[in-house]
């Protein structure tokens, strides 16, 4: 696998990773702040990215920040939180045009770094408090975002499944937090939380593009002044799975046209484990692609669904099946899905299936590397996992997976919860 030499160094408490590449017309920067996913802080942390984008000491309002970004030839700035295993990752990203493709060649990168630093480290606070008007606006917006999850039935079903699967595990906490916890947040306690997070979180800074790492080092040193006094010394660890003897079955009802059938399994395998790639190949044969058993049997053969797929939660060790079906077809669909899992556990897949899946999965890995953010996300897997898998070993490790490895993975997989969001009206019509 061809790839550019990655350079790493520390500046204060920030770990910097530079990936030089001449493939793209932009330079990409990404800051990842890794903190624990906890009920007490989840809502605050979810609110933070929007507060930070509302003004800094140098750019006092959202409008000032956005105008400055536009002046930098439409530099994009996004900030949000995501769940990786039982960590809540706060990300800030900036994509910036490479001036060598513009008529105007004046350098943009340092201006971008300065702006990003200002948003990240220099918010517009008075007396160690965020502005209360901004806090109120963003609480309102956050409340709306949380309540809108209900409007997207696929997202809603995923959220419900996760809650039902992991009621006593941090993974069951929703990454956007909770409406009822918004009330207690104010400019003071959120600022205190922000300071605490800056002080104790792991902070990684990625730069990918046509850049020189020494130059990056100088610029980050100049603009990112941060030293942590008490960095948390904790390794990511997931709480032990509560292995249920009997699978959970949960049904909700809404007036929807299409029912959502989401099924959660425990894989007992996480990123970094020796059998992680065998799990990926398992998932590929079972439900990850359009040649997979789920697609062929639920959709193509039985015409029950438009989509029937599975995906792996790499840092928690879950496998999630998702399908949209008619409410009355619950039994047919679950029967077919369980049959596919049973076949996998009985080793009923061929060498051709394995080769085909390896080819498609390797293709997916290589394609991810063609996108700056994808490449950075791949590197970041290694930063947050307890065991690392160097990117240049991925393809080889995929090739080494055998029929037995996949079968062993299949035997570790346990059904946990079946979640069904069913339609109301349809049933009353029948």
């Amino acid at each position: 696998m061809e790839q550019e030499e990655l350079k790493q160094f520390d500046i204060g408490s920030i770990r910097v990773h530079v990936i030089p590449s001449t493939t793209f017309k932009t330079n990409t920067m990404m800051i990842q702040m890794n903190g624990p996913l906890e009920k007490d802080s989840v809502t605050k942390r979810a609110l933070l990215p929007n507060i930070l984008q509302n003004g800094t000491k140098d750019y006092p309002s959202r409008q000032h920040i956005r105008s400055a970004l536009e002046e930098l030839y439409g530099a994009s700035l996004t900030a949000d939180v995501a769940k990786k295993g039982e960590r809540q990752i706060l990300s800030l990203r900036m994509d910036l045009a490479n001036e060598k493709f513009l008529k105007d060649h004046s350098p943009l990168l340092e201006k971008g770094i300065k702006l990003l630093a200002s948003v990240f480290l220099n918010p517009n606070v008075t007396n160690d408090q965020f502005d209360s008007k901004i806090i109120d606006e963003e609480k309102r917006s956050q409340r709306q975002k949380i309540s809108s999850i209900y409007d997207d039935k696929m997202r809603f079903a995923n959220k419900r499944l996760t809650e039902e699967m992991c009621p006593d595990e941090p993974f069951g906490i929703h990454v956007l937090g909770y409406e009822e916890d918004l009330d207690a947040i104010d400019g003071k306690n959120l600022y205190d939380y922000y300071q605490d997070a800056l002080n104790s979180d792991d902070i990684d800074f990625y730069v990918m593009g046509d850049v020189d790492s020494e130059h990056i080092k100088t610029m980050i040193k100049k603009h990112f002044k941060i030293d942590q006094s008490h960095r948390r010394e904790e390794k990511p660890k997931n709480t032990p799975d509560n292995n249920k003897k009997k699978a959970n079955e949960v049904v909700d009802e809404q007036s929807v046209q299409q029912a959502k059938l989401h099924i959660g399994y425990r894989t007992n395998i996480v990123y970094g484990d020796d059998d992680y790639f065998a799990l990926q190949i398992f998932n590929g044969i079972f439900g990850g692609f359009s040649h997979s058993k789920l697609f062929i049997n639920v959709r193509e053969k039985a015409s029950l669904a438009y989509y029937a797929a599975s995906r792996v939660e790499s840092h928690k060790g879950l496998l999630i099946v998702m399908s949209g079906i008619q409410s009355s077809k619950y039994n047919d669909a679950t029967e077919i899905i369980f049959k596919q899992m049973e076949d996998m556990q009985n080793g009923e897949f061929t060498e051709v299936d394995i080769q085909q899946t390896k080819a498609v999965y390797k293709n997916q890995v290589l394609e991810t590397m063609d996108v700056p953010r994808g490449r950075i996300e791949m590197e970041y897997h290694n930063q947050i996992a307890s065991k690392k898998i160097p990117l240049n070993e991925w393809l080889e490790r995929i090739d080494q997976v055998t029929h037995d490895d996949i079968l062993n993975v299949a035997k570790k997989i346990q059904l946990d919860t079946i979640y069904f969001l069913k339609g109301k009206e349809e049933e009353s019509n029948e």
Binding site: G74, F101, S148, Q356
Partner: protein, 433 residues
């Protein structure tokens, strides 16, 4: 074969038009692992009324048939074409829009074999009564999925508000009723009419050798025979100049409402550079009015009417065109009124040169970023070709747009009294938890 170099972007495009009329474009991209190819016909959901290639009389086909055909083309005598791609490590897909149907693959290995598979399966229709029947259940679930999607319902509700007769207001997948009228023979009729190479574009972008790829495509096409190309007679229902309904309200099982404001083009006949200038101008104006750096965005946010789902867009093809502004909101009605008011105010105020330049820079930067994406390049280039425009004219055109042209576009496009519709998604009364 033609070779066109774009100095500023440091890209070279290879172009060829084959004897059978197929237009082929290759854009080599060094440093990429993957190659992405699209094979696109100028045939979409709006083409539901035409004279078949073999016939003389016009035919009105069931709604959603272009999309149905897209699904069924993936079948061949030996089964499912997806399998052939995945055996070669490629991922394949397809989509149907109002005016196009595109088949595509991306792969990091076996590019020549995958390209062969792409061209061959699209040029080898194989429909049976049985397979057509089987597909109906799948498409029915696809339609149901969109029926539950409030954003999709909001958008098509708005189109129905704007258009009375034009087929753009018909859902791309059709309805459960219309897809059940689809037959094997109708699929062949549509296929034969619209999948002639002279109505298609093949675009390949990625880590490829252009001459070699073009040779391969030429050889592939020389070994096949096609009917003589004939101009396609398409009939589009004449639409009213003005909007059909000013307001459409759709109750759905949602917690948060939605609001979209649409502005319908009065005279959507522009093509070529005229269309390119027009669409870039409308986009610049929308950005000035409602972009995140605008006073209006700030105001709407402070008033609690929008969140960061708020967005805007302009769509234009031959025969229809519209702007759309809106997003999630707890007060759909109030937001619609505010958007209308803010557009009216904006029209009264002079345009600020500094803001124009800033937004122009932003659009140029965004275009550069999009040029990182093989998907964007292939899909957009094809769309531009079908409208007689050139994707690589975007930056020079953006640079050349003058304030007077923007003012002209503003007068021409933003007629609020007759051209504006709104569609609101509201919370169902009987909400089920």
């Amino acid at each position: 074969m033609n070779k066109i170099t774009f100095e500023q972007l440091q890209e070279t495009l290879y172009v060829d038009e084959l004897d059978n009329g197929l237009r082929v474009y290759v854009l080599p991209k060094q440093g990429f692992n993957k190659t992405f190819a699209t094979f696109t016909t100028k045939y979409g959901s709006i083409d539901n009324h035409f004279t078949p290639l073999e016939g003389t009389e016009s035919l009105r086909v069931p709604d959603g048939i272009a999309h149905f055909l897209e699904h069924k083309l993936f079948d061949d005598e030996d089964g499912d074409v997806f399998q052939n791609f995945s055996k070669l490590g490629a991922s394949a897909n397809a989509f149907t829009s109002f005016t196009r149907t595109a088949y595509l693959f991306s792969s990091t290995m076996n590019v020549d074999k995958n390209l062969e598979t792409l061209v061959n399966f699209v040029q080898n229709p194989y429909f049976t009564e049985e397979s057509v029947e089987k597909e109906k259940g799948i498409i029915e679930q696809e339609i149901k999925m969109y029926e539950d999607n409030p954003d999709w319902q909001n958008f098509f509700g708005l189109l129905k508000g704007m258009y009375k007769n034009h087929p753009v207001a018909i859902d791309i997948a059709g309805t459960v009723e219309s897809i059940n009228k689809t037959t094997k023979d109708l699929l062949y009729t549509c296929y034969n009419t619209f999948y002639h190479p002279s109505n298609m574009v093949l675009f390949i972008v990625g880590n490829v050798e252009p001459e070699k790829i073009l040779d391969q495509v030429r050889t592939n096409q020389q070994n096949k025979t096609f009917a003589e190309p004939k101009p396609i007679e398409r009939y589009v229902e004449e639409d009213t100049t003005e909007v059909n309904e000013k307001k459409v309200t759709i109750p759905m099982p949602v917690n948060t409402g939605k609001c979209l404001v649409g502005i319908k083009e009065r005279n959507p006949t522009k093509q070529g550079i005229e269309l390119l200038k027009h669409e870039l101008s409308v986009q610049l104006l929308l950005e000035m009015m409602f972009g995140q750096s605008s006073e209006n965005y700030q105001t709407l946010y402070e008033e609690g009417l929008i969140d960061d789902s708020f967005s805007f867009d302009f769509t234009a093809e031959k025969g229809f065109g519209f702007s759309v502004v809106g997003g999630d909101t707890s007060q759909p009605e109030a937001l619609a009124e505010r958007i209308e008011g803010l557009i009216a105010d904006f029209k009264e105020k002079p345009l600020d040169d500094k803001v124009i330049d800033r937004i122009r820079k932003k659009k140029i930067g965004y275009f550069l970023k999009a040029m990182n994406s093989p998907e964007f390049i292939a899909n957009q280039f094809t769309r531009y070709q079908f409208n007689e425009m050139d994707l690589f004219d975007v930056i020079p055109t953006l640079e050349s747009l003058k304030k007077e042209e923007l003012l002209e576009t503003m007068k021409d496009h933003f007629h609020l009294d007759t051209q504006m519709s709104v569609c609101l998604i509201t919370k169902e009364e009987d909400k089920s938890e």
